[in-house]
Amino acid sequence: MNFLIMNIPLNIVSTVHDWIYSIMPETAASITVMVLIAVAYLALFAVAGLYLVLLERKVAAWFQLRLGPNRVGPLGLFQTIADALKLVSKELTSNDRIDKFLYNLAPYFVIVSTLIGISVFPFSKQFQAFDINIGLFFLIAVSSIGVIGILVGGWASNNKFALIGAMRSGLQTISYELSVGLSILTMVLLTGTLQLSEIVEVQRTGGWLILQGHIPAIIAFCIFMIAGTAETNRAPFDLVEAESELGAGFHTEYSGMKFAYFFLAEFINMFIIASIAVVLFFGGWLSPFGITDGITWFPEVLWFLIKVLVIIFLMMWFRWTFPRLRVDQLLTLEWKYLLPLNLANLMIMAIIIWMNWTI
């Protein structure tokens, strides 16, 4: 019975899966299933992104001793839905001398690369759309595509602020990609695999990786959080869209739904960075100390979400505390501090694993 309760959603999924395979030839059925899963993910993360925006606004308000949105719906819960409806109904404006094709392509580049990244995460043991053995590598590769969308958008807008913002985004993402990659590599030394579901399984026996790798893992986590925040173009690294200097940076010229894509992509990117952190450092969907391991019906996806929300809260805390960096400070931080520290950290981690000093 318990087994049944836990698996109701999964049962529905497998029933639908079997039914589609029974009425169609195999190729058509597998494509249909893929499309259905994609649509489900799209809907799920569009709504999740909307509520992350609401969370951001609420948290921002509390950090500034305000109340935040509290008028639309109970506790302001429908605020971002109303905002999204407004954005959908808005006119898609553009100025005269834009590069039409690239201008229209850019938002899709950003949002699609973000949503592809979402697909490889193991939200629980069964809830994973795409389990490949190079999961982490795939994630890093896909998340760097997003910056091309930003560069294209800034270039095609034919606006100096957009171009400056896009160029800053390019230099920032290319620099901080290194730190993200190296801090992930530090943890991969420990896990010995790039497959996300296996990384979680490694932590079932040995404890969360941030405990297994102790000091270098904690340093790697700090560096990952800094570089990850930079990767998502959020404050204090938001000089890509720095409102006070550049209008809105690369999306100055975008309106309506195209703007909403950029906006949503930022929040889903934040979710991705938080999810990588959770999978790599905090045991993914595993419960702390195995407290719910005995309860078979407990939805493990809840643990994943709780951990992700904690990390996201940390990123919001950064955003509403730290002032924005200048471009030269940004590059100094990366090339003079994070990168040497990261390389040294990688060496220390290698030595620790070689000497078997892991916990």
Partner: protein, 158 residues
């Protein structure tokens, strides 16, 4: 090595900042600065230095402190104050003395600079704390500050 002390100082100052905002975050529900204005109209209290509009306080005998010296009218940079005054015989001394007939105040022109209140030698006009000044007709914004039939408090001299 300033390199490592820079890192240490950087982390220390960042954590100090996060402590401050974290404290705000925890107290935000109780100590929120937001006034949910139309809902709390009854309890909302404006702060002492708020400049709502210029008023002339009257006591229970319908008496005010304005002697009609016109200092406020002269001090006003854009002519928001007009005083219509008259002379009347003072019953105590038997001499003719200036008194106000109407102290007219144009709220629509007032910039809330407060020079009239600073200029007043007898503190006859003060700032009010009200803030709901919108009306449907501009003429309502021209106000007569002294109440009809009011007189000056005996002994108030400029």
């Amino acid at each position: 090595m300033s390199y490592f002390s820079d890192i240490y100082n950087g982390i220390k100052t960042l954590i100090t900042g996060m402590k401050v905002t974290g404290g705000y975050f925890i107290h935000a529900r109780k100590g929120s600065l937001t006034q949910q204005y139309p809902d709390n109209r009854e309890t909302l209290k404006m702060f002492d230095r708020f400049r709502g509009e210029v008023v002339m306080p009257h006591d229970e005998n319908n008496q005010h402190r304005c002697t009609g010296c016109q200092s406020c009218e002269i001090a006003c940079p854009n002519g928001s104050i007009e005083i219509i005054w008259d002379r009347a015989v003072d019953p105590e001394t038997g001499k003719k003395k200036k008194k106000i007939d109407k102290h007219i105040y144009h709220l629509s022109m007032c910039t809330m600079c407060g020079l009239c209140i600073e200029a007043c030698p007898t503190d006859a006009i003060v700032w009010a704390q009200n803030y709901e000044n919108s009306v449907y007709d501009r003429s309502y914004l021209t106000k007569t500050l002294n109440q009809p039939g009011s007189t000056v408090i005996a002994g108030v001299e400029d």
